[in-house]
């Protein structure tokens, strides 16, 4: 067990090191997410009163599209280095490879969220201290990355890789997006926990189900 954890951590650490060197994922995705926020501002005229109602939607659209960009990179780095075979040669369970990459993509997305969210709250003149929002972001990111890591590996070896990832990914994470927007709306309006509970349950159920399913399916995706 500890051996598995050591291997998962080794893969995670390799990706973190790579990212620290190149800063590829985080910078590109950050800039993109910010741009999406700003463009939505123009599209919906931030000054008017309707923004409070659509703000949660804007935040989650920005996260979703930025997330897709980041998820594309998860296995692109292996493809570019032709190193997926190197990983497959290692004497570890295939699910270890999945969890290693998942740990990396989850962490990167959380880092991006940690930067984008305060900026978003400022741009839309919303209160800054929202611990419940942090919980929502963690749950949603877990849902996004478990599905996204699986599909990033799937899309890696087929043609039109960049367009296939969103097509595969978006329909499946609809429940996460709906849940995230509903709960964020509740939090921004200062509503009680009881209003959010069902949605949180749905998101947690989604996360658990997809973590299990993706772990099981991963070996079929990377075999040759």
């Amino acid at each position: 067990m500890s051996r598995m954890f050591a291997s998962v951590f080794a893969i995670f650490w390799k990706d973190v090191l790579s990212e620290i060197r190149t800063k590829e994922i985080v910078t590109a995705v950050l800039v993109f997410a910010l741009l999406v926020l700003v463009i939505f501002n123009f599209a919906f005229d931030a000054a008017s009163g309707t923004t409070a109602r659509i703000a949660p939607g804007i935040l989650w659209v920005a996260f979703t599209f930025a997330g897709i960009l980041g998820l594309n990179r998860v296995f692109a780095v292996e493809k570019e280095n032709s190193s997926l075979a190197g990983l497959r040669l290692c004497p570890v369970d295939r699910m270890v490879i999945f969890w290693g990459k998942l740990a990396g993509s989850f962490t990167f997305m959380l880092v991006i969220a940690a930067v984008i969210t305060p900026i978003f709250l400022v741009l839309f003149n919303l209160p800054l201290f929202l611990p419940r929002l942090a919980l929502i972001i963690v749950l949603a990111t877990l849902g996004f990355t478990s599905v996204g890591t699986l599909f990033s590996a799937l899309a890696m070896n087929i043609r039109a890789r960049d367009i296939m990832l969103p097509i595969l990914f978006l329909p499946l994470v609809v429940p996460v997006i709906i849940g995230a927007v509903e709960t964020t709306t509740c939090v921004l309006a200062g509503g009680p926990w009881s209003d959010m509970l069902t949605w949180l349950e749905i998101m947690i159920a989604f996360d658990i189900i997809y973590l299990v399913v993706a772990t099981l399916m991963f070996e079929f995706v990377i075999e040759e």
Binding site: A6, T22, N81, S83, A85, L89, C90, P91, E224
Partner: protein, 245 residues
């Protein structure tokens, strides 16, 4: 080196009736091969003969469509993780991460293979391929030949008893080939079992104990090096691969 070493599980590699198909294309058919411990087998064959496919199956990167494959006693279908622990693969791709240093790459693989005394082992293996000076340089800054040497270091860092090489000299300039060959020679001289595919007839025979020719997915010729006349081998090779001309 070979038939007598018998007794139970004396073969390093046992392949019986191996077949591999991709959809409707049969890449390998009826491959039977037994490699003894410490033996060095070189596989020749024209392009498309199935050399790379054979190496991929032996290294667990591909599953056989038919037949059995056992490496050091472990069945490739039943105990792939065990098999992976015992083998090292060197191919065209180096499996190294360009943005990480030589040290970081080796440390990564060392951790994945749970290598004991990793620090020491990294230094040993880099010294063996004569690249200690570049230990903390990014792999992307190394020449292709140096990358290939590091790749060989990566392949043996966990001390595998079997090393598989798929045309390790392809794409290297003459100077790099010389350096890689030195490394391969010392690899060969040791107790590891080596299976190597190559296009280079002369060099391939020199290093090996046994020679195999693969053509259209089948073994068409197999002989011990001592019984081969190196001078006429090229003719022999052409004769056996006649069908592809």
């Amino acid at each position: 080196m070979n038939e007598t070493g018998a007794g139970s599980g004396a073969w390093a590699i046992e392949v019986e009736g191996l077949g591999k198909s991709f959809g409707n294309h049969r890449a390998l058919t009826g491959i039977c091969l037994k490699v003894g411990r410490g033996e060095h087998v070189t596989v020749f064959g024209p392009n498309g003969a199935g050399k790379t496919t054979l190496i991929k199956v032996l290294s667990t990167l591909m599953k056989p469509s038919a037949g059995t494959v056992r490496l050091d006693g472990s069945d490739i279908n039943k105990a792939p993780t065990e098999v992976r622990r015992k083998i090292g693969l060197v191919a065209h791709q180096t499996f190294l991460y360009d943005d990480l240093t030589v040290y970081e790459n080796l440390k990564f693989y060392g951790k994945m293979y749970d290598v004991p005394n990793l620090e020491e082992q990294i230094h040993d293996v880099v010294r063996w391929v004569r690249l200690e000076a570049r230990l903390h340089d990014r792999v992307g800054t190394l020449s292709r030949g140096m990358q290939q040497r590091i790749s060989i270091a990566r392949a043996v860092i966990h001390n595998p008893s079997i090393v598989l090489l798929d045309e390790p000299e392809v794409g290297l300039d003459p100077h790099a080939i010389v350096m890689v060959r030195e490394v391969l020679d010392s690899l060969s001289a040791g107790e590891r079992t080596v299976v190597m595919t190559t296009h280079n007839l002369e060099q391939g025979i020199e290093m090996s104990d046994r020679v195999v020719i693969l053509d259209k997915g089948r073994i068409v010729y197999q002989e011990h090096k001592d019984r081969i006349d190196i001078a006429t081998f090229r003719e022999t090779y052409d004769r056996y691969t006649e069908s592809t001309k």
